[in-house]
Symmetry: C2
Subunit: 507 residues, 2 copies
Amino acid sequence: MESTVNRIQSSLFRQKVTSAAEAATAIHPGDTVAISGFASAGTPKVVIPALADRIHAARGAGSNFTVNLLTGASVSTETERILAEVDGIALRMPYQSEATARRKINDGRMDYVDIHLSHVAQQVWEGYYGNVDVAVVEVAGVTESGELIPSASIGNNKTWLDVADRIILEVNSWVPAAMEGMHDVYYGTALPPNRKPLEITRVQDRIGQPTYRVDPAKVVAVVETNVPDSASELTEPDDVSLAIAGHVLDFFAHEVKAGRLPADTLLPLQAGIGNVANAVLGGLDRGGYRALTCYSEVIQDSMLRLIKDGAVAHASATSLALSAKGLAELTDNIDFYREHITLRPQEISNHPEVVRRLGIIAMNGMLEADIYGNVNSTHVMGTKIMNGIGGSGDFARNGYLSMFLSPSTAKGGAISSIVPMVPHVDHTEHDTQVLVTEQGLADLRGLSPRRRSQVVIDRCAHPEFRPLLHDYVARAQATPGIGHTPHLLGEAFSFHERFLATGSMLP
Amino acid sequence: MESTVNRIQSSLFRQKVTSAAEAATAIHPGDTVAISGFASAGTPKVVIPALADRIHAARGAGSNFTVNLLTGASVSTETERILAEVDGIALRMPYQSEATARRKINDGRMDYVDIHLSHVAQQVWEGYYGNVDVAVVEVAGVTESGELIPSASIGNNKTWLDVADRIILEVNSWVPAAMEGMHDVYYGTALPPNRKPLEITRVQDRIGQPTYRVDPAKVVAVVETNVPDSASELTEPDDVSLAIAGHVLDFFAHEVKAGRLPADTLLPLQAGIGNVANAVLGGLDRGGYRALTCYSEVIQDSMLRLIKDGAVAHASATSLALSAKGLAELTDNIDFYREHITLRPQEISNHPEVVRRLGIIAMNGMLEADIYGNVNSTHVMGTKIMNGIGGSGDFARNGYLSMFLSPSTAKGGAISSIVPMVPHVDHTEHDTQVLVTEQGLADLRGLSPRRRSQVVIDRCAHPEFRPLLHDYVARAQATPGIGHTPHLLGEAFSFHERFLATGSMLP
């Protein structure tokens, strides 16, 4: 292992090296704290636990200590959990996926604002979240001139470093030094009326610089670490995931044949996080595609294999969220992967301008869809938040094709992911073009609501739920004067109410 | 009045002049017909009535004759009505606002696809609506070299002329010849992967040309007309509209004071169609603003006065939908207005890239909002479509500020526009930042759902409905394990069900 001292080339920054506990004293009760991290990658490792200790001690001494916590997206589960466990977070934005924090949010004990990930940086710049007091940002190193080498995710770090009053850096020597050069940090964003076109026309285009800028006067502490990112463990694709992936691949082949997608390259792919997305991506090399590209938020394990195989020529994202095996593969072959991967700020990876221009094929998971194509990505039974909308809306609204994927049932068949009406809408009927379950694929493009309902039920719903859904639609359509989008308001949530009452959506 | 013959400078096109009845014979049963028109401006005047006659005659002779009808947005009510009356439309997209068509759609006798207006051109190019057989496009004239001078709206005309197999032109000499030069028709759009940045950084930037291109071999008929656009009549702002406008102006002043909006110019404004939007715009010169800009779909009467007064320096839109008085004002002062107005294709007026870059302040009407900020713009009581989503989503999602406006009640107080849950979602909680009724303004930025519900009820709901809404929220929040976004699924639509049963949302 190389010496940590080599990672801090600037003497100005070396003078600021201190302990995590000391650094955490720069964070005060009531502060708004913006930290690095996107999915499992790039979360600061030691200062937040030290902050949690301070909060715990303050609480023990009878004084209240909470902060508002801003991130890129989810951060490592350990970090999210320890702050939630000490009730240290007053307001959380823009995304989280950890069990303890989720429970506090659902109990109404933690404020949570769930927004499109492409909107975070601009909304903070616009002042919607007040002053940002402290940024805690993990980096891979500090150059001699005092610029910062990013670690395994970028997220909103550029913005946090720009807007925070005080900055704490964690310099993590576990991050491969050879990762330097993989990042493209764009400094051309601005508030209107001073915005310019983003000059990205291909996935691999670089418009920024490999490092973050920082005002050294704002840096109050530098903490040295050597701690791996927590791993994103994925299971091997199961039959359901493989069936979904198969339908997606068939659809791509169909679209190529119809002349609506380029044959060898398709269009840049975006896939959400998780096992289904991983299975779809993993199936792509069986489709015979060469020189595919990806423009997404997160790079998962399957992407590394596709790059190695030559199926994917270039992948752009804001985070490398890998399993332990994937992390080893990346670090062992970092010089190779650096040529095929570009990491960007999330305001660029998810930017509506770029998503629209590149013509992204957006594939995101969902909790449930209704018979007209409205999608619930966030709220179990309409009220309990799971994670958040993340970047799914950034890609679904502005992409070339907008696809939502899910197994047709959950909880051993007790829950149908196709329901009469979703009790929470994250993506409207105007924004969903294709729904896919292991049962099949519903192509909703150009269909009126009544036609959509038949296709969704027949292609995507589990056979056990189809008669119930058809019965609902038939009775809704038979209601005099019912209108364009037939519903029975008194029964629209009958599936959900039955589940809440009996533990199953089946009668 | 000038002679019509001057409007057709190309002899090639003069040879194709014929009657409307003859031209309409180029349209066959089952054709997909794309016509000009956006709001009340630029609808073809005579060929569609002639087509309706053909359809009526065919039906009388016992044969079926329907077409699929694609437009920019709504077209003149007469045109929409006559085709709907003869049951001539199989599929209609992307927007309509006429009573007879609405009834057929709600009865399930006309297929209707309600999509974001910025998506229309690309989806037709992508082939989602099959082949476009015929385009019927109104123009103001034909140049000597065979280019076409647009009339009072552009909409999707550039796309229709590009993709249609056969083209019928209506040359309308009622359109002021001096309107030439007001249009900016951009020919740089493409399907991915060949898209380039749109080089618009200010509202007045021009990136195209003043005329449409057309392949003369595709032009099967040219019909001469001299028919005014139907007028968009607006009522004088009532007290409710003026109160809403007052809250909006107060909010702008507050945002300027907070440093979140530029003082004299604000940011480019977008306002939906209708009396409330007209009242808000009409109030702007009382705010003391100079050199405002607008980047919107439609220019209404109030905009002409703002331009004349110097409050607005430049307005960009895709349609001039004016009252009879406004039409007279425009034509009498066309040389002045041409310098301050730019008309663009709707794929540019509503383009997410430009909307995000310019930092649009989006102000759109709504039917109702729920206590968490989800907005229903389209479906009365969740099932009966009113008009359609139009461009509201294009602006709301990607703008700098996303505001939705409505009186707090409808039907003489029987309907509350603030409800526990909207039974159809066009704009999600992630996309609405500010709700405004005559009661007040709810600023939802940075608020979690529970906080939002209090602000929405207290600021926007009519006092008669506040106790009912507070009671719903209190009981939902008190339900054990209810979650992040409290709802009682069995009562979520109780307001709507009561209205359907009794004619009032009040108990």
